[in-house]
Symmetry: C2
Subunit: 339 residues, 2 copies
């Protein structure tokens, strides 16, 4: 059964289809009673405009594409939630595509977005494939990145203020009295890792603490990597009394390593994470960490994108502040053993 079109309504109302079109868009060219009459008929017939036909002539699809490495990543999911929310408020719909960081899927994503003529794109994947960058930008639409590790050739992005947040987090450990503070980083050379590391260094400097290279260990951003990296730190002759971790996932692994070593958090060692993933709250002990306003970041990215679509100016790199969330994985350092 065909969908009812503007012409069917025109026939029913005894007017031309142009008039119907205008009536449905509340054109001031029509007299109010005509508008009301036509809208009533449209309502009765259960009319729904065809986005395809409309966008064919308006050259706007009211649609944005969102690429993610995988929506199964809770971090990404919340960002997308914010994007979708903001888009919806502006009557935009979102196409979701997972790239899985696979070149083939990345091609599919580009093709799909191009064919559907999305008005703009938000990329929420830490890594964008090299070959895929030029393809994305070749399709003449605005693009906004969220927390991207290689913003390189793109202009617009929304990012967490890594440096400041990291300095603040490390600062907390300093204030608690720690003097041997380790940095458990990420080994992939991401921009966020170097920024967080820089914040860590800065906090040490401010406190007049010397930087000790042995106190830096690298994981892989996941619990397994954090676990191994923490074991190395624990094996030092003089282990740290506090560890600032690149992210919560690493911190989870670190917690496990510490537990297995028979030590207690925060009594023996303090741990600070980064992200405030849901699990941070339910770790044992609940993790002190830096909250990233993920949903908000998604909203902002969408709003910047929508501005760009309207042809307006928008922030090029927007830094949003993190928030230090105090839980129970941080405490003053243990008293030196009495001797």
């Amino acid at each position: 059964m065909r969908n009812v079109s503007i012409k069917d309504i025109a026939a029913a109302a005894g007017v031309s289809h142009s008039t119907v079109s205008r009536a449905l868009r509340n054109s001031p060219l029509l007299k109010p009673e005509t508008i009301a009459r036509i809208q009533k008929i449209a309502q009765e017939k259960g009319y729904t405009a065809s986005a395809a036909a409309r966008s064919l002539v308006t050259r706007r699809t009211q649609t944005i594409g969102v690429v993610v490495t995988t929506i199964a990543d809770p971090f990404v999911a919340e960002v997308v939630s914010g994007i979708e929310e903001a888009a919806n408020e502006h009557r935009y719909s979102v196409f979701l595509a997972n790239s899985n960081a696979e070149p083939e899927r990345e091609m599919n994503v580009v093709r799909s977005f191009a064919e559907h003529r999305v008005d703009g794109i938000v990329v929420t994947s830490s890594r964008v494939g090299a070959l895929y960058t030029p393809m994305l930008s070749s399709m003449q639409v605005p693009i906004v990145l969220v927390n991207n590790q290689h913003p390189g050739e793109f202009v617009h992005s929304v990012m967490i203020a890594n440096f400041e947040a990291s300095r603040q987090a490390t600062g907390l450990l300093v204030e608690l009295g720690h003097r041997r503070i380790a940095y458990l980083g990420d080994r992939f050379g991401y921009q966020s890792d170097s920024e967080r590391f820089a914040g860590y260094r800065e906090a040490l400097d401010c406190a007049g603490l010397a930087f000790v290279p042995e106190l830096v260990s690298h994981g892989d951003g996941r619990p397994e990597g954090g676990y191994e990296a923490m074991k190395k730190l624990l094996a030092l002759p003089d282990p740290p009394t506090a560890v600032f971790c690149y992210n919560d996932m690493s911190a989870l692994g670190a917690l496990k390593a510490i537990r297995e070593a028979g030590l207690r958090v925060p009594r023996d060692i303090s741990i600070v994470g980064f992200d405030d993933l849901f699990v941070a709250e339910y770790a044992e002990p609940p993790l002190t960490t830096v909250r990233q306003p993920r949903r908000q970041m998604g909203r902002l990215a969408a709003e910047i994108l929508l501005k760009l679509i309207q042809g307006e100016q928008a922030d090029e790199v927007l830094r949003v502040p993190g928030e230090l969330v105090l839980r129970q994985s941080t405490a003053p350092p243990p008293c030196p053993e009495p001797r």
Copy 2:
């Protein structure tokens, strides 16, 4: 700058646009060299077909709509990941829409899907608003539900085999030697709760254990509710030695309540969850739970939907088995206090 169309290519190749259309679709009506020549030109000009124009005439959009309450729910996100994956393999794109369980947004979702003429819909939200059910079904497209609590008027759905999984999980506790096994359920009357409860009852019956009403307590499916419900159980004169929880979220709350009561898991009390959320693995202790093959369920839902779109038959209610994952929150009951 306009996108290059089929006509531009026709002009460049000195043929009619119909020929180009055929060439791009590898029609056997054209001779191979013409096809090759035209495809080459299309390639050079960076041609991308317009999905809008195409779907206007084919009456197919190669698009499916996915409604979720919120993509920020990790459970949902993984299901969606599976849906998107399967859809992509069949060259379908997905529209993602969050309903947030708000009537207004639900209306928006329906409008948006209707206007975009999606070929089918997957609903991954535990609750579908009453008013919104008829709207969805009014738009003449196939619909598949995933783990929906009120499948009511819809025909097709994919669900976890609650009863069997729950019986098995409770059975584990029985085998470990527990005799006072509690059920920490959900209070909203969801179908999954009653099915899981039924499985629990069945396992008790099989083991010849009497059902004790006091050993049933209700949370709200979230940690807070689980926490409160567990406190009630702990306050009993003769508390349970094991608890089977409606889901992992409730179990997390239960773990917290137990910790606060100064008891240890699993030494004093065993806990089993349901879902195998990511956090289950990193809870303290790591949680024994029932894994739901979320991604797989998403894939299946998409595949059923795609079959329906092709006009084929498909399973009406597909039950997928859960998998009991043994971790460290379960052990034999404590020895009775020596006296």
